[in-house]
């Protein structure tokens, strides 16, 4: 899949390394390295094929093509493409995993009505 156009997403290129808390109010494409946390409450996160994210993620939608190690909390949808390597727990309304993706962790689907999977 092609990287989204720069105008649509804020772009972190593959040579960029960020350590700390990342937050924003626009969609974010990460093709570099992020350690810490990513907070995009009403926006989407995309981890590109070169992206290495070691962070807890809170976003509307999360799409992973690279590596993500951390908890994912998505208010909408989570998608792992076939090149994704994901370790961590996922909370989302929906999840889609392409054949070939690697995932280790817990999946907890929480529907829009607020009815959570019973603990």
């Amino acid at each position: 899949m092609d990287a989204p156009k720069t105008g649509e997403y804020a772009h972190i290129g593959k040579s960029v390394v960020i350590k700390g808390e990342l937050s924003g109010s626009e969609d974010l494409y990460v093709d570099g390295q992020v350690d810490g946390s990513i907070e995009l409450r009403n926006n989407n996160l995309m981890v590109g094929p070169n992206g290495i994210v070691r962070a807890s993620v809170s976003a509307k939608g999360v799409t992973v093509q690279g590596k993500l190690d951390g908890k994912i909390n998505a208010s909408d949808r989570v998608e792992f493409r076939k090149s994704a390597i994901v370790t961590g727990d996922v909370v989302a309304q929906r999840i889609a995993i392409e054949d070939g993706a690697y995932f280790q962790g817990k999946v907890d689907i929480q529907k829009e009505s607020g009815k959570a999977s019973a603990s």
Partner: protein, 223 residues
Amino acid sequence: MASVADNVMRFFRGSSERAAEPAVPQKRMRRSSGMGEISRLLNSQEGLCVLDLGSTSANNINFLTEKGHKNYSEDLLRASLDPDLRVKDEAGNVVVDCKKFLDENLTYPNGVFDIVLVWNLPDYMEENLVKPMIDRLWSVLKPGGLLLAFFHTRDAGPDSPCYRFHITGTDMLEMQEVRLSDKHSPRLQRVFNNRHIENLFRDFASIKFFLARDAIREVLLVR
């Protein structure tokens, strides 16, 4: 004449080249009595915690989460093949560091899971990992929890491909051949007989065998 002979030879060479391993792992369906028993539990209660130890399967995640259960995924076979787990013992032989394997995988508190899906792992894992893994699974299962495992019978043959199992229905599984990064399928390590299986799971409260026509012995355990 030479060109006709060349064409004939090219045809036969082309045929043998076409007979090489298919690029896409083959899939087939099987009915599973063990999965049927598991589904009975899944349908009768909500909010169960299920640990799936097979390759990442979107089918399984969706099947379980749509019923309102929590799904935990661990691809233990792939994890067991990590080169960093290989160490040398006192005799200089390369062995798998079992303690490190368990410390990096299956790190759950005791009594968390209602169901554990082991699939065919014991048949394909390194020998020294199998019993410790089963002991750890016993610990992380709740009392009364279920564990489902598949074992090849002697009829299966040493070249039996390793399959991943996608749950497609109450008692239906789609089997897809596992291919590692080197495009080969993991090799069958051993064939357990009934006594071996009983010893492996001796700490469990009960054991039920289902023998299928495809040389697979399904085993359902209660913790």
